[in-house]
Amino acid sequence: MITQRGFTVLFAGILFLTSGFSFFNFYLILLGVYLIVGLVVTLPLFAVTANLSGIEVDRKIDKTKVFSGDFLRVRVTIRNTSRRNFDFIEVWDQYPETWILAIGENFMASRIEAGSSIAFSYILQARMRGRYYLGPTEVIMRDRLGLHYYKRTVKARTEILVYPTWKDVRRLETIGKQRQLGLMFGSHKTKVVGMGTEFAGFREYVPGDPFKLIDWKTTAKRGEMMVKQYEEEKNVQFICMVDSSGSMGNGYPENTKLEYGIRAAVLLTYMGLERKDLVGVCVFSDVVHNYVPPNTKPDHMYEVLDALAMAEPMGWSDYETAVSHVTSQTRKRSLFFFLTDLEESPGPLLNAMKAVVANGHRAVVISPFGPWFEAPVGQFGPVERVLSEAVSEELWERRVKISRALSRFGIEVVNVGPEDFLPAIIHQYNAAKQRGVALH
């Protein structure tokens, strides 16, 4: 393959050759011939020596799973396994477009001798959750004068799983520390009267109460049999139903409804696990992509992160299938947090909610309202603004009907935008803890 430089030399050669013919000048012809012959004379030799299959590229990374926003060092080693020296070799190691090259360069140009190796590294910042690949690597070999080149793409790729961002959790921890309340900042213990150790009050004796609970002093004072009551702390079981249908992907990149839903699910799982609650996560669209049943084991958080990292906005929301899948595996009473934009037909949604309630569970719908996640109306022209407002109004009408319909099952619909998505879910969680719903 001739490079741009090679073509320039060819052009100059033809220019002098034709000038020589036109003006009958042998010097110009000779110069033109020198240039053209000089361009091609070493080409067969270069073809023999430039055996790129003798080049091996090895890529190493420190971690295969990182959080969105984390930094990652990539080390690339190029080995010359052939018996020839390569005069000029360029290596481009490709990384995902959305990531940021923080330190160093993903490019290397040098000479590599037979049997030797060269290494370089660079630091990337992983952006946006999902499954990503580093690579392929482009290896370009040029001749010394840069007139010809051979290119090969080494397709070996390194898979990296990027978890959703951890910044919300970090922020929560920071605020907790700042207020000197420790990790349990904002928690509300769910207490029920029962067999605990903390004194709660007195009540009248009813037949069947154990005699040891009778408080004789109070009985003597009141003149009737009184028993002591104790509180016991109960844990709550939550299930985050994350809708990953196509419509959830609307909005600015990194700030789509789905991204917020996932951030909310991460935050909720973290808070729940910190407070010893059981939290499960289900990612669904027209099928159930992933379901992590509620648990408190140490690596539960990572299982949830794995499930959320892979979520992609596609398909449509089949609430019934998702609810049927989850309820069939969840016997204990749970509180379902539906993180969905409710942009599907109403029948299946209501049936799904009915199934949730019929199975003894409770539910809250945290619903991102589409227009609030898209471009601000101020950025539109007059026509687009009117259209956008009309669409928003229609969608809002639907919302009102949804809320009315779901309230029949005692299910609250919380409409949220980007600003109040996370506060809303924290508020709902705390409220549920206070009320003690879905105890087990």
């Binding site: 430089r5 030399v9 002098f16 000038s19 020589g20 013919f21 003006f23 009958f24 000048n25 042998f26 010097y27 012809i29 000779l30 110069l31 011939v33 020198y34 240039l35 053209i36 012959v37 000089g38 004379v41 070493t42 067969p44 270069f46 073809a47 790129l52 299959s53 926003g69 060092r73 000029f88 923080a102 330190i103 160093g104 290397m108 140009a109 040098s110 060269i118 290494a119 590294s121 010394r144 004068l145 840069g146 007139l147 051979y150 090969r152 397709k155 070996a156 910044k167 922020r171 027209d286 099928v287 089949d318 299938t321 109403p346 029948g347 209501l350 009915k354 639907r398 319909a405 029949r408």
Partner: protein, 434 residues
């Protein structure tokens, strides 16, 4: 007109100016009047009329004598001829001067590009300088100025080797060759130096940014220095982005906690990396990849020498027709013809011989099979895992579809005929009924 003062000069000056103005007016008059009146009277009649008027009113009335003409001019056609002759004379002088100007222009451009090529080491400057200088000779050849040439291309190799034209062509070609070799040496060693320099700047910029943030958090006043703008931030895209997000250098910095945290975390990451891995810095700069200077120089000299010899040898064979004529065993009439001495004759051999080299390279390439691409290094387990994932997804979709069909079937049976109602109201009713 002898170059000395004459009392007639002011008069001649005024007359010349007046005559030029009157000529313009005259032209305009002819154009306009001809255009308007030609459909009625015919163009020729008017031409004569206007010409007569001009002769009578302007030339005779003022009795004008143009520059360089001995007697007075009484006819407008004489004025035109004189004017055209002067005009062509000026154009010819300009034409001749243009080539002198072009020589100087090419030389100036060539020198400027040559100087640039020494500093920037870019092939565009090298080839630009080369072409510009050679263009002087091309223009000279066009103007038939004596430049190195052969009457008949020499048949003796030694004679060819020591000829002026060959030496000049070889020196020119050697300049191009050596410049490209220098660019090669530069491009092999320089990226590593630049890499090291960039890394230094990046780390410095990062540290400065972190310090600045610390000071801002403490409520101290922060000033933006020229250094931080030029050497630090601009060289570092990550930090630049952080600055664009108004993290560093504004009072609102603390509001953007994420970006502040990003810069901090990067600082910690780099610090930890450099502390824990002694080879990390060398790998980031790719220091080990730098080739030895002595090898680069040695190989450049030997490589160039071999190339030059090959180019001169092959070119001589191509340009000297006798070698090929002897090989082809042509008839005497053709072998002794004048056509063989024409420069275009060498094209007969140049094109196929030059095409032979890329063809040979292509053949070698197809034998070596260098373009075989290495596939992704997925292990057997990984491939199986991917297959399993796909299979599972297919099954899930099938199952969900089946369940949906069943549900729809049951509902249809229960509901019977549907009515024209709002879908939400209908859904609420349906669910309530069930």
């Amino acid at each position: 007109m002898s170059g000395r003062w004459d009392w007639g000069i002011p008069y001649e000056y005024i007359v010349t100016v007046f005559r030029l103005l009157s000529l313009i007016m005259f032209f305009l008059a002819i154009m306009i009047v001809n255009g308007v009146a030609s459909p009625l009277l015919g163009g020729q009649v008017l031409n004569n009329l206007v010409g007569g008027l001009y002769n009578t009113l302007i030339l005779r009335f003022w009795y004008m004598q143009p520059y360089g003409v001995s007697g007075p001019m009484m006819n407008v056609n004489e004025v035109f001829t004189s004017f055209m002759n002067d005009f062509i004379g000026i154009l010819m002088t300009l034409w001749n001067q243009t080539f002198t100007f072009l020589y100087f222009l090419c030389a100036a451009v060539g020198i400027a590009l040559f100087l640039q090529s020494l500093v920037r080491m870019d092939h565009k400057f090298v080839i630009g300088a080369f072409i510009s200088i050679q263009l002087i000779l091309v223009i000279a050849a066009f103007r038939d100025v004596a430049i190195p040439n052969y009457e008949v291309f020499p048949t003796d190799f030694y004679e060819f080797l020591v000829s002026k034209a060959q030496i000049l062509a070889l020196v020119s070609f050697a300049y191009l060759e050596s410049s490209y070799q220098m660019i090669y040496s530069h491009s092999v060693g320089k990226p590593i130096e630049e890499r090291e320099e960039t890394l230094k700047k990046q780390l410095l910029a990062l540290r400065m940014a972190t310090r600045k943030q610390d000071r801002m958090e403490r409520g101290e006043k922060v000033s933006t220095t020229a250094m931080s703008r030029s050497s630090g931030a601009t060289a570092f895209s990550f930090l630049r982005e952080a600055i664009e997000r108004k993290v560093v250098g504004t009072k609102d910095a603390l509001e953007n906690m994420d970006a502040v945290a990003d810069v901090r975390r990067l600082q910690h990451f780099v610090d930890e990396l450099l502390r824990n891995d002694p080879a990390a810095k060398d790998e980031l700069t790719a220091k080990a990849a730098a080739p030895s200077e002595s090898y680069v120089i040695r190989s450049a000299v030997t490589g160039s020498a071999i190339r030059l010899m090959a180019v001169v040898g092959v070119s001589f064979l191509l340009m000297n027709p006798w070698v090929f004529v002897a090989l082809l065993n042509l008839p005497t009439g053709i072998a002794n013809s004048v056509e063989l001495l024409q420069p275009e004759f060498m094209l007969l051999f140049l094109v196929p011989v030059v095409a032979l080299f890329p063809f040979a390279a292509m053949l070698i390439g197809s034998i070596v099979k260098r373009e075989v691409e290495i596939e992704g290094n997925l292990t057997k387990e990984q491939k199986q895992e991917l297959k399993r994932e796909k299979r599972e997804m297919k099954q899930k979709k099938k199952k969900a579809e089946k369940a949906r069909r069943e549900r729809t079937h049951v509902r249809r049976k229960r509901r019977g005929e549907s009515e024209e109602k709002d879908e939400w109201d209908r859904a609420i009713e349906d669910v309530a009924r069930e």
